[in-house]
């Protein structure tokens, strides 16, 4: 891969709406990525391996729970700071962002929101520092878009819970020290359990053969009569709303992340179009290439403004799940379209690993599917505006 020459693009001068601290956080994340991650990401992607050596650096830039209060090892930053970090990570690679999204929104967030004081003290500082990596178990082999149908369950055995079942498509699972697992109790009510590596009957086989998110580890969580201590139940909330609130946080981060992937594709395409000469002039001077580039920056700019506003609403605690769905759906599709157009501008070079385009494009095929598929998010918007449930 070539030297990372990325520059941000800010067509509507959105930076003026950010604080100096936001910009410092974003620029520090970008500088760290250029120094430590960009030079290795293509290699790890091709080998289908998570570069675990980047974990301390992720913690240093605040990628693990930046909005978690400082008393639990977080940085106490706002939602926009979190979003900007996710944008910079996915600008490099969606798998890198996925690892940080899961840690922040799907592991630290539920422990912070629904955990006991002891659970927060035990897990959050270690998750913030990267000493622990966590994962989140909701999806099952037969229950993806319909998580409420899950069959993973636990029974009260007096001094412990007995957990049985399996989860699939779990980011970070192969090396996670702790899993936030959503399972039904004997009354069919969904609860969160903290399952720790080393508990008897708990295994995390890695899934192979992905053509997407190859620099991020994905696996299963298998529970075969796992005895979970009672103090590992998240007591603060039960029901499907509990995991869905975590997904709100993660989807919000994905909305920012997708902008990052789109910006990288656009940035590369813009530079390539000025350098590549055909018929005696740079291809940037041809109308068909300009149409692609102009439409890309238009769509990126719209997504940037939509997402910044969503961040403001989240800071005020007013963002609805449906608003988050709209941003996640819009931005990921936008990024996929930008990636495909950018690939065309790069011509044949666009299919090689000299440029990041195909890697982003393949990654985004996962991003458009996980954390609520493209279609499901449309139905969430549909339900929100009509009041009619079209899921079933």
């Amino acid at each position: 891969m070539r030297t990372d020459q990325y520059q941000g693009h800010d067509y509507y001068e959105m930076d003026e709406l950010l604080t100096d601290e936001h910009k410092l956080i974003r620029d520090a994340a970008r500088a760290w990525i250029k120094k430590d991650v960009s030079p290795i990401i293509e290699d790890y992607y091709e080998r289908s391996e998570f570069p675990s050596q980047v974990i301390p650096g992720l913690a240093e830039i605040g990628a693990f729970g930046p909005y978690i209060p400082t008393e639990y090892g977080g940085a106490g930053m706002d939602q926009i700071a979190y979003g900007l970090i996710m944008q910079e990570l996915e600008r490099c690679d969606s798998g890198l962002r996925s690892t940080a999204s899961v840690q922040s929104s799907l592991v630290m967030y539920p422990i912070w929101k629904y955990g006991t004081e002891e659970q927060k003290q035990k897990f959050l500082p270690k998750l913030a520092s990267g000493e622990y990596i966590g994962c989140f178990g909701l999806t099952e082999p037969d229950h993806g878009s319909n998580p409420g149908g899950m069959i993973t369950n636990f029974k009260d055995q007096g001094d412990h819970y007995l957990l049985n079942g399996a989860k699939l498509w779990i980011s970070n699972s192969p090396f996670a020290q702790v899993a936030v697992v959503w399972a039904k109790n004997e009354d069919g009510r969904i609860n969160g359990l903290l399952v720790e590596r080393g508990m008897e009957g708990f295994t995390t086989p890695e899934m192979k053969g992905k053509w997407s998110l190859r620099a991020s580890a994905t696996g299963e969580l298998v529970f075969d009569n796992v005895k979970v201590p009672k103090e590992n139940l998240l007591p603060g909330r039960s029901g499907l709303g509990a995991p869905l609130s975590c997904l709100d946080s993660a989807r919000y981060g994905i909305a920012w992340g997708a902008i990052g992937a789109a910006l990288d594709c656009y940035d590369s395409a813009l530079r390539y179009s000025k350098e590549r000469n055909q018929f005696g002039k740079p291809i940037a001077g041809f109308q068909l290439q300009q149409k692609k580039l102009a439409e890309m920056i238009t769509e990126i700019t719209k997504a940037q403004l939509l997402t910044l506003r969503l961040g403001q609403l989240r800071n005020e605690g007013r963002a609805t799940s449906a608003q988050i769905s709209m941003a996640k759906r819009n931005n990921v599709e936008m990024a996929l379209k930008v990636a495909r157009e950018a690939r065309q501008i790069h011509g044949g070079m666009g299919v090689t690993n000299e440029y990041p385009i195909m890697r982003h494009m393949m990654n985004l095929e996962s991003v458009v599917t996980y954390e609520g598929t493209h279609d499901i998010h449309l139905l969430i918007t549909g339900l929100d505006i009509t009041g009619e449930n079209a899921f079933v």
Partner: protein, 246 residues
């Protein structure tokens, strides 16, 4: 050890340069400013390394208005203990050196570290003049700095080799590539920078001694003519008749 580090802002290296006010002022519109790399990567980071090794404090000093606060916060996020901003627009190298010297003279600094130049105006004057105004020794364009007791041992890259220099503290040094490695601010540092003191001080009466008459952009590069390697006559003719160099 008390260390003072000069921090100035400079346009990002990708900036498109233009001028205003009849070509007498740099057009700052839409320009992204960064910490001058020689100040940040070499002077500040070496100062922090020396503090970490020997104890003491690192204070940054900047001559400029409130528009400099973001770059000062970055220096604090990287690890400086506190910052001083002399609240006036920099006029020229002499004026900046006088402002720094007027502040530093009563504050007992052992070491004043500056970048070898800013990457915009490339004046390279402030270090030498600050040292003179404070009656301190000065080592310019140093690529290595160690402190042993009250003695500084420095290296300078010279033609074909390295010059090793010794000087007693207090001392002014202008820092060049090689002195330290860039440090990226981490989240802890960014959080800590929120509460570190940024002391705004009104300027002394020092004024600039020079005035900019005009800025001009470099002449645009002309088109390249490619001459076939076999066609020496055409090459000689072009060099003689068009380029008029032979």
């Amino acid at each position: 050890m008390k260390i003072l580090v000069g921090i100035s802002k400079a346009p990002d290296t990708t900036t498109k340069i233009s001028f205003t006010d009849n070509n007498t002022k740099f057009n700052e519109d839409k320009v992204q400013f960064i910490v001058n790399p020689y100040d940040e990567w070499y002077a500040l980071v070496r100062g922090l390394e020396l503090k970490e090794k020997n104890g003491g404090t690192v204070t940054t000093i900047t001559v400029g208005g409130t528009d400099h606060d973001p770059i000062i916060r970055k220096a604090l996020a990287i690890g400086a203990d506190d910052a001083v901003r002399i609240n006036t627009e920099a006029a020229d190298g002499y004026m900046v050196a006088r402002q720094i010297a007027d502040y530093a003279k009563d504050n007992g600094y052992d070491l004043i570290l500056l970048g070898k130049e800013t990457i915009d105006y490339n004046g390279s004057m402030v270090g030498g003049m600050t040292a003179e105004l404070l009656d301190m020794p000065y080592v310019s364009v140093a690529s290595k700095l160690e402190i042993e007791g009250r003695t500084a041992i420095l290296e300078r890259d010279v033609q074909g080799g390295i010059e090793v220099v010794e000087a007693d503290l207090p001392l002014v040094v202008s820092c060049a590539k090689g002195m330290a490695e860039q440090r990226i601010p981490n989240m802890r540092g960014i959080m800590a920078a929120r509460t570190k003191p940024l002391n705004v001080i009104e300027p002394s009466d020092a004024k600039g001694l020079t005035r900019v008459v005009e800025y001009n952009l470099p002449v645009e590069k002309g088109e390249v003519k490619i001459v076939d390697a076999e066609n020496m006559d055409e090459l000689v003719s072009l060099l003689h008749n068009e380029a008029k160099v032979i």
